[in-house]
């Protein structure tokens, strides 16, 4: 099977969907001539031309709102945010217009857009560029939220997202863009709302998504080797819709849960998850549900301290041992 970088897997998904459906169009800052700020869209302009691959001005409210309007007439725009952090200047367009227009029209309109781009810390770019807004987005009924952790998932999920008739928020990760993995060259889809057990285990379940899944896999290997602890890892992949069945099946198997997320703790995705797990599997739990989040402060610049602020394999390892103690 071909081995691709995460960014190449996304690019392949875009290219396949652009080829399949003439109404798919990619718009964003630097996506065409510059080949993408993170080279995700490299080569697409040359292959599909300027009508399909469109450089926009730095004008997120403008071009995202425009994409939403175009989608109401049947265009399927894939809108790139150079950083998801910039969603805040388009907040009204995304979370008033895209999220609500179907409801407010009594179901007469649907809004088949994808907004994609990286949402992560860990690159020493300070608080304004390090937001992880999946909790904020998922708080709005009407939008879907996807956070892939591997190249394989990124391709299959993005293709599903582009074909979805609801607005899908697709959160990537700059640190994962260079990660490699096996990615089939053929046309495969991963449905939204299907979690994936990334590692089987018996002692404790880590529920996670995005880059912390990769960090949890590293921690799980150390825990197995050095502490003889067997960790199961459930990768949600999709925050909304949410596959609770897979989460609960794992809880029933291991009876201990650690939620790992690159989120601030307050009102984070993990808060909702832990509520649902205790509500639906209370009798299965042998320990309180634990959470490991980004330490609750704006993202610090200082490189070594930012590493400590975020989830990392050492913090995860320690948190697992604390739950099992």
């Amino acid at each position: 099977m071909p081995v691709l970088q995460y960014r190449e897997a996304i690019r392949q998904a875009l290219a396949e969907e652009l080829t399949r459906d003439p109404n798919v169009v990619v718009l964003g800052e630097e996506v065409a001539q510059f080949h993408g700020a993170y080279k995700v869209t490299e080569g697409l302009l040359e292959k599909f031309g300027p009508k399909r691959i469109v450089d926009t001005p730095i004008s997120e409210a403008g071009f995202i709102g425009m994409g939403i309007g175009a989608s109401m007439l049947g265009i399927r725009p894939v809108l790139e945010l150079m950083f998801w952090s910039f969603y805040s200047v388009a907040f009204d367009q995304i979370l008033n217009n895209a999220a609500n227009v179907r409801y407010m029209s009594g179901g007469q309109i649907h809004c088949p857009i994808v907004i994609r781009g990286p949402a992560n810390g860990g690159t020493n770019v300070g608080a304004t560029h390090s937001h992880t807004p999946e909790n904020v987005l998922a708080n709005h009924p009407g939008v879907k939220v996807v956070v892939p952790s591997t190249p394989y998932d990124a391709k299959g999920l993005l293709k599903s997202a582009i074909r979805d008739n609801d607005p899908v928020m697709f959160l990537e990760n700059t640190i994962l863009y260079g990660d490699k993995g096996e990615v089939p060259a053929d046309d495969y889809l991963i449905p939204l709302g299907k979690a994936d057990v990334k590692r089987e285990g018996t002692d404790l379940t880590i529920v996670s998504y995005g880059r912390p899944v990769i960090q949890s896999l590293a921690a799980a290997n150390l825990l197995q080797q050095e502490h003889n602890i067997s960790v199961e890892i459930v990768d949600l992949r999709s925050i909304r819709p949410l596959d609770m069945d897979t989460v609960l099946a794992s809880v029933r198997k291991t009876h201990r849960v650690l939620i790992v997320e690159e989120q601030k703790p307050f009102c984070g995705v993990g808060a909702q998850l832990s509520h649902m797990i205790q509500s639906e599997a209370f009798d299965e739990l042998d320990a309180p549900i634990a959470r490991l989040c980004t330490i609750d402060a704006p993202a610090i610049y200082s490189p070594p301290v930012e590493t400590e602020q975020l989830p990392n394999p050492q913090r995860i390892l320690k948190a697992v041992i604390e739950v099992l103690d």
């Binding site: 425009m66 109401m72 217009n97 709302g193």
Partner: protein, 365 residues
């Protein structure tokens, strides 16, 4: 008003302004008597609908906000009467007039105000959120200026598909200072999108007059983006149509965007919750009503043209009042949506379960 009506004959120069009478413009001269009557009837139906909805609001049948269109009828009817099959309309929260102007029936509109399941948005949108995509009417949007990028996107889609249409994107004078509006202006001009930004200037952004809120001429800001612009008085339906038709042709045929300002006036407060006693004087409202009322101006024109007579004026008015009353009866008799309807129309996939591809939960407790 007298000066205008005295110049009603086709081809005559208005002695008041020295300009050609807009009645002589081809877009108006070509109207049949029946078409003229239909335009007049639309304006009357808007006004009687609004008056009836105000009474329903006062009777506590309607919740939330109610932004009445009374006084501005010539704008929506004038503009929307020029729509071809690929022309589209989107507007802000003062959206009843446009809805009626594009042909929506009064029953589902009044039912929407009453929050009933038979409303045009099933009682989920309310006064500010009327939609009818089948009539190319895309709302009805509550956030000031928020609809302007959407209208630009409708125009983008028209151009992408190679359709010869335009999107009239209405905004109020209070919206011109919102960032999203300027972002949309730039995109429209940069990419030659067939959108006309129609500033409906009723003089007040809520209770703040134009002089206290906006620097310069509103539409002239288009110059900064290299876009065409213009402004006109919008109490005379013929003038609105004559003025708009050129901009629409350029948008449809050459994908040329424009910003236009239509000077109008609202007789009622910003919403019915506005007591309207702090920021303007009653004499100002009365003066406009006396001289520039769009219904009266057009009625006078059509009387002078002998298209209307007093009996027909009376009949149209009586029918419009009756139709508005019927819509209120319809709304009153209709059922409310139920709690079971709350989570419908949120996700396309949830509403089309047989075509659902995703798994997992879409809704949460």
């Amino acid at each position: 008003m007298t000066k205008k009506t005295s110049a009603a004959e086709v081809g005559q120069i208005d002695p008041g302004t020295g300009k050609p009478d807009p009645a002589a413009a081809p877009v108006n001269a070509s109207l049949s008597a029946d078409q003229r009557i239909a335009l007049y009837r639309l304006m009357v139906r808007i006004r009687r609908f609004e008056e009836r909805s105000l009474r329903a609001y006062q009777a506590k049948k309607i919740g939330g906000f109610l932004h009445l269109y009374i006084g501005q009828e010539a704008v929506a009817v004038g503009c929307c009467s020029l729509m071809g099959k690929d022309d589209h309309v989107i507007t802000a929260y003062r959206d009843h007039g446009h809805a009626i102007a594009v042909g929506m029936e009064l029953n589902p509109l009044m039912a929407e105000l009453y929050g009933k399941a038979t409303g045009c948005s099933k009682g989920k949108g309310g006064s500010m959120h009327f939609f009818d995509p089948a009539r190319n009417y895309w709302g009805g949007h509550g956030i000031v200026g928020g609809q302007v990028p959407l209208g630009t996107g409708l125009a983008y889609a028209l151009k992408y598909k190679g359709l010869k249409g335009a999107c009239m994107t209405f905004l109020g004078d209070g919206a011109v200072n919102q960032g999203a509006v300027h972002e949309a202006y730039n995109l429209a001009a940069l990419w030659d999108l067939p959108v006309i930004f129609v500033i409906e200037n009723n003089g007040y952004s809520m209770g703040t007059s134009q002089a206290r809120s906006s620097a310069g001429e509103l539409a002239r800001r288009a110059e900064g983006y290299g876009m065409a612009w213009g402004s006109c008085d919008a109490h005379d339906l013929y003038e609105v149509r004559a003025f708009m038709s050129g901009f629409l042709e350029k948008a449809r045929n050459s994908c040329k965007p424009a910003v236009v300002e239509l000077r109008t006036y609202r007789y009622r407060g910003h919403s019915v919750a506005d007591p309207d006693n702090t920021y303007r004087v009653k004499a100002e409202i009365e003066e406009y009503r006396k001289v520039k009322d769009p219904l009266q101006v057009f009625q006078n024109r059509l009387l002078a043209e002998k298209v209307l007579d007093d009996a027909l004026v009376e009949k149209i008015d009586a029918e419009a009042r009756a139709e508005a009353d019927v819509s209120a009866d319809f709304a009153e008799a209709s059922p409310f949506p139920t709690a079971d309807d709350l989570q419908k129309d949120v996700y396309w996939e949830a509403d089309n379960p047989s075509q659902r591809k995703s798994g997992g939960r879409l809704f949460f407790n």
